[in-house]
Symmetry: C2
Subunit: 339 residues, 2 copies
């Protein structure tokens, strides 16, 4: 087999504040045929996620192909034991049309009957695992509880709220950044109620909706949202804090910490940060728990899919702006004949 | 038996900022002989504690005898089953020379051989239980860990650091507000090292002393101290936050929340508030664990004792100013012939 021309993306400069598309450039590179122990993968779906904003500040090299993105692809040539031509694999060498992978860095995916392939990058992928780890392991949501999820229309928040409902939470409250998102969250994802935080008054709304206080919060925003969650927490309330989009663009000048932080001491709250990378051991358990709920329609698939590698940067910037409903995915041409 | 004239304290006005002695007045009241089910107690030791500052803002009535203070006294007359004349009891009707108690609100204390009575208001009292609950239950300090305790020369901090050392912590670091306190904490209480935070640079000192980061922190101060603890915490570090003296005088204008709070998310920290009143079930366990350490000298008794009911207000204001080394106690005349 001869070389393959892969399309890739380079980062030209580091951002100063909110990133713009001129920081990136599309490039091509020749990939040699797979060496011993390697397989060549043609990507089908690429994931774009808020955490990648942090890579722009240092994790990604300048003017070199950008890796470290979650992707689903099909093996098109293999010299690796355990990876056969035609296999579908999950790997993290994304932001390219093709990748050379090894068995240690690529995991074979066999989609369960009735589950679309793209779900393995969303509810069954990293963002779904983030939600599952938060609700099951960090917060341990119990029947009858009142649960609040910020960024409820996002990839993590939407799944988290649905998991809370299935765990028996009495109230699942969400906040989101537009009336359309609020409608999406309540009508499609089954949240008890949701609020457009751009109206102001999130704290008051939470107090109204959960007059006895919140048992558990999953916050992925920080700043005012964390402050509202602390204000509405009941005694012994738990808050899981997973990243902070509001922080990513201004590490040197972070959003104000919650003015009511002292309530953590005064009301015996648990504020616990977590990162999904420390919960990878839950992946199989999460998949076993989630798949029946997906197949039987108790969890709605929640994707915003854009087509074509050329759309990658716009899709990424769209995630940072909050344009997406649910998980933002880029579908490549090669996925045309996949589910 | 006839009535007894008890000396008491009234609060005349609520404080605006740091309290002053003119807000209080000494008064006398006649106590009737104990009714059925009651006992009359002559107090021996009274506790003055920082949390009482909060009572001044609303918990204590104006111009009425102030109760809700921890006290040790001797039963001088009893019509209550289970409370006999001469019994030593712990109760919470303090800030008076005498109190009428009932068996449900007074607990008989039988000092263990070799343990001075006053210890039952300090290391074996509420502040010691606060330290024990923090180190054992909230933080669960393990051998080899690096532990930091703020307000290390205070009644809670001094016991907490000694407990951490006995639990096998490799480093027990403390901060305090003067060179004399720093010397006290390292020389008498056995902290590994301590720092006078008034010099500035607490964060840098912690990083130097625990280059791999702090496993566990007990903070009772908040503000800059909490910020330093967050900054020095290692990944998965635990922080127990018990009250905040720096907050008590300015509820309307609290100290700035830590500017580095985002590290709670980014480094997967646990920030957990707690109150000793939710850990009363640990009292007997704590006493069983602490008494042998006390008797055999592995935990130093750490008291600042002032004499006479007239000293009560000055002693209380002294605690708020941080004048005390260890637990501040007021010894009443009746204690003259006690250990």
């Amino acid at each position: 087999m001869t070389t393959v021309t892969a399309r890739t993306v380079h980062l030209l400069r580091r951002p100063d504040g909110f990133p713009t598309s001129d920081l990136f450039a599309f490039r091509e590179r020749e990939l040699a045929p797979p060496g011993e122990g390697e397989a060549l993968v043609e990507n089908l779906y690429l994931s774009v996620d808020p955490y990648m904003r942090q890579l722009m500040d240092g994790g990604w090299p300048l003017d070199a192909p950008l890796g470290r993105g979650r992707a689903l692809g099909r093996v098109v040539a293999s010299r690796a034991a355990g990876l056969a031509e035609g296999d579908i694999v999950f790997h993290t060498g994304g932001w390219s049309t093709h990748a050379l992978v090894e068995p240690g860095t690529a995991r074979a995916v066999e989609p369960a009957p009735g589950v679309p392939l793209a779900a393995y990058l969303s509810v069954l992928g990293g963002t779904g695992l983030t939600a599952y780890a938060g609700m099951r392991s960090v917060l341990d949501v119990r029947p009858g509880e009142s649960v609040y999820v910020s960024a409820a229309a996002g990839a993590v928040g939407g799944v988290a709220g649905q998991i809370a409902r299935l765990l028996g939470a009495e109230r699942v409250l969400g906040s989101a950044g537009s009336a359309a998102k609020v409608a999406h969250v309540t009508e499609r994802l089954g949240f008890t109620a949701a609020y457009d935080y751009r109206e102001g008054g999130l704290a008051g709304w939470l107090a109204e909706q959960a007059p006895e206080g919140l048992d558990a919060t999953l916050d992925g925003v920080g700043g005012d949202h964390l402050e509202a969650a602390i204000g509405a927490a009941k005694e012994f309330g738990r808050i899981a804090w997973v990243g902070a989009i509001s922080q990513y663009h201004s590490a040197a000048n972070p959003p104000a910490a919650p003015r009511n932080l002292y309530a953590v001491s005064d009301r015996s709250l648990h504020l616990r940060g977590y990162q999904v990378r420390h919960h990878m051991h839950l992946r199989e358990e999460a998949e076993e728990w989630l798949v029946p709920h997906l197949v039987e329609g108790r969890i709605a698939l929640d994707h915003t899919v854009v087509d074509g590698f050329d759309s990658l940067i716009d899709a990424f910037l769209g995630v940072l702006r909050g344009d997406n409903l649910g998980k933002m995915l880029v579908r490549l041409d090669a996925a045309g004949n996949e589910a």
